[in-house]
């Protein structure tokens, strides 16, 4: 009787361990930081793209206004994918788009904007990626929807039709 209980006990433990590890296989290997609540935008200084002027976040983001902060680079393929969506947003009057050029070569970035048209109202340069880290970003593209100096939504990866609908829902 005792051995039977022990065998059953070990089989149950084995079964549950197997189930936990098997379920774990379905989880993505790469970690994406969760975004659950509104956060104040970080305060940082960055250089304006192609200019030698330092600008602070307080000068860029004003109260009671919607902003899109988009982290992009000319070498990033998904950035080309999301570009039409940013252009679509740039046609709207109640939102300003701020671009953060991430670890990029100036001439390549300039050519990218000439080829695909710039959706940005302000472009900042982030050669060493320190400004992107202030925003909690770890790659490109990443997009933040900001209102009243608060991040209200974060999009990791390229924008798509759904994200555009979501942004429009907020700003309308």
């Amino acid at each position: 009787m005792k051995t039977k209980i022990l065998t059953l006990f070990f089989i149950t433990i084995f079964f549950f361990s197997f189930l936990i590890f098997y379920k774990g296989l379905e989880n993505p290997n790469l970690y994406t930081p969760s975004f659950t609540s509104k956060k104040k935008i970080p305060s940082f200084d960055a250089k304006l793209f192609n200019k030698d002027i330092l600008i602070s976040s307080d000068e860029i983001f004003k109260k009671d206004k919607f902003y899109i902060m988009n982290i992009w680079a000319s070498w990033c393929v998904p950035c080309k994918e999301e570009h039409p969506y940013l252009l679509n947003l740039s046609n709207q009057n109640n939102i300003k788009i701020v671009g953060l050029n991430y670890k990029d070569n100036d001439s390549n970035a300039k050519k990218f904007l000439e080829d695909f048209k710039s959706p940005y109202d302000i472009i900042l340069s982030d050669k060493d990626c320190l400004a992107a880290i202030e925003w909690g970003a770890y790659g490109v593209p990443e997009t933040f929807l900001i209102f009243d100096k608060e991040i209200i939504k974060k999009f990791i990866g390229p924008l798509n039709t759904n994200s555009l609908l979501e942004i429009n829902k907020f700003i309308k």
């Binding site: 290997n29 970690y31 930081p33 969760s34 060493d128 990626c129 320190l130 925003w135 909690g136 770890y138």
Partner: protein, 121 residues
Amino acid sequence: MKYLKYLTLIIFVFNFNSLNAQNIDLKIEITKNLRCLICQGQSVYDSDSEFANSLKLLVEKKLDEGFDEKEIYNFLKDRYGEWILYDPQFNKNTYFLWILPILMFLIGGAIILKLFNFKKR
């Protein structure tokens, strides 16, 4: 007076070097305890990815600005979540993680003691 000037200069240079060395050691220690989020199973110290290199630069900058180890961890935890730290802090989400090995050790010890006493008898 001239010698005093030289002496002050030498002391200053040596102090600066030791301060710099301390910061380098601390930077290595901190980056070893940070998880590289875009590479698998590597610390920021071990990784050579763009993200890891930027984090190394950030840690260096924060140390120069006078941040201490805990403040740097808190800064990064605030932005990337607790996952970025290899050494999770003791809080309500990690009670089980921290207490389980101790519990297992105690239960194991109790079983061994019981068996030992049983054999003795």
